[in-house]
């Protein structure tokens, strides 16, 4: 029942996106220009970039894209349309569908991003599968946390400011863990050696998703 609702809502999001193509194009352009700005200001000037800076820079780019992309989850459609969804779908289905859709977007953006980023900035990663795993876990965590924060921020007067102020401190624990895992991936450590960190990342993702499912109905009711 709820799974069916989630499936339909995710399909609706994808169709809306497919018909307009505006948001996705915007994100890709944002990604490309940010990476190129980084290239011009770091690589082109100094000919070399420290691996730690390389990693941190990429995660910061992803973080900003995520805040931009997910921040408009609830403001994109009109208030009347949201009221319509409110009457036909359960709030849990709404938030889980947003999280699923945003995860898909973030995974796509991260994968395109890492390819483009490696192309211009070089790729010093030692264990690439582990790096990809951290990207996927990051995409899930970012979209779960930020979807919830976007729901909160959309209620306020000044959505953009609220989104930035609320999401940065809340996303930091996740970001710190992600930086740790991806740093190990860059040093070429194996997945087995990072089992603790991956377990913690996964559990943070699960906690945030469950918490969103419990708390979102209270935000949605207005």
């Amino acid at each position: 029942m709820i799974l069916n609702e989630i499936r339909l809502l995710v399909r609706k999001e994808i169709q809306l996106e497919w018909r307009q193509k505006y948001a996705m194009h915007g994100l890709l352009l944002y990604l490309a220009s940010t990476v190129f700005v980084c290239y011009l200001s770091f690589k082109a000037k100094q000919q070399a970039i420290h691996p730690i800076t390389w990693n941190t820079l990429f995660w910061i780019i992803l973080l900003f894209i995520a805040i931009n992309a997910i921040g408009k989850s609830f403001t994109q459609e009109s208030a009347q349309r949201n009221l319509f969804y409110y009457t036909i779908a359960s709030p849990e289905a709404i938030i889980f569908s947003k999280i699923t859709y945003n995860t898909l977007v973030m995974v796509a953006i991260s994968l395109i991003g890492i390819v483009f980023y490696s192309w211009v900035m070089g790729n010093p990663v030692g264990n690439f599968p582990l790096y990809l795993l951290s990207l996927v876990l990051g995409a899930i965590g970012f979209s779960a946390t930020l979807s919830m924060v976007a729901g909160i921020a959309a209620q306020g007067e000044n959505t953009a400011t609220l989104m930035a102020v609320l999401s940065f401190p809340i996303i930091l624990p996740l970001l710190l863990m992600l930086l740790k895992v991806s740093k190990s991936a860059m040093d070429g450590l194996s997945i087995q050696e990072n089992w603790d960190e991956i377990a913690i990342l996964t559990s943070i993702d699960v906690i945030v998703i469950v918490l969103s499912g419990i708390l979102f109905p209270y935000i949605w009711r207005h």
């Binding site: 306020g156 609220l162 401190p169 943070i204 009711r221």
Partner: protein, 224 residues
């Protein structure tokens, strides 16, 4: 917290405070290299964090109650506990910073535990922003209580799990001995546990006063 309204707990709080501050400054402490007399900070710094966690925890309980029952009084109480908790967090940061100056030689060091707490403070300051950004009373209460619960869970991950994953200079982390190692004869425990109780009681007392103050100011604005 009706029981707190009785004077017994206030008197107990004052006696315990006097006892722990007296013992904290003048009592016997074990001699340790580097730490020397700063080990006394245990009674003043660590107890602030205990008090803060109890206050924030109580605030979450009231947030949950508000979301279930929709009674605005719970929202007011929850808000007062968060504000009082923040005061204790600030005191914890200040006492910690003073201790760090004398032990590590710097007011602020790049330590996971310190950074986690700083992030936690940012999370709770953002809570204040959420509250002030919404004019409608019911909406403000609903959103800020949801955020409060969300923030508390993230904050707990931040201070209980993350510092344990990295090396830290902080006592009790990264192979550094915690206070239980310094104190095999349990003398410090005789002061430490009453001190936790004293500061927690003081925190609840302050929060209780804030709640009453808020209720009165609410009444006066309604009467105007």
């Amino acid at each position: 917290m009706e029981t707190l309204k009785k004077h017994g707990l206030k008197i107990a709080c004052m006696i315990l405070l006097i006892y722990s501050v007296w013992q904290g400054f003048l009592g016997q402490v074990p001699r340790q290299a580097i730490l020397n007399e700063t080990v006394r900070n245990l009674y003043f710094h660590v107890t602030m964090w205990f008090s803060m966690i109890f206050l924030l925890g109580t605030s979450v309980v009231h947030s949950i109650r508000y979301l279930r029952k929709g009674n605005l009084e719970n929202d007011l109480i929850s808000n007062a506990y968060v504000e009082t908790g923040l005061v204790f967090a600030t005191l914890g940061l200040i006492t910690g910073s003073i201790w760090a100056k004398f032990t590590w030689g710097d007011w602020w060091t790049n330590d996971p535990k310190l950074n986690s707490v700083a992030i936690g403070m940012l999370i709770y300051l953002a809570y204040g922003l959420v509250r002030s950004s919404m004019p409608d009373e019911q909406q403000r209460a609903r959103i800020s209580n949801v955020y409060n619960i969300f923030a508390f869970v993230i904050f707990m991950i931040l201070i209980w799990i993350l510092p344990r994953m990295t090396d830290s200079l902080h006592p009790g982390n990264g192979g550094n001995p915690g206070f239980s190692k310094y104190d095999l004869d349990s003398n410090m425990r005789l002061v430490f546990y009453p001190a936790i109780l004293a500061w927690t009681l003081l925190g609840f007392w302050i929060a209780n006063l804030r709640i009453r103050l808020k209720k009165i100011s609410q009444l006066t604005t309604e009467n105007e």
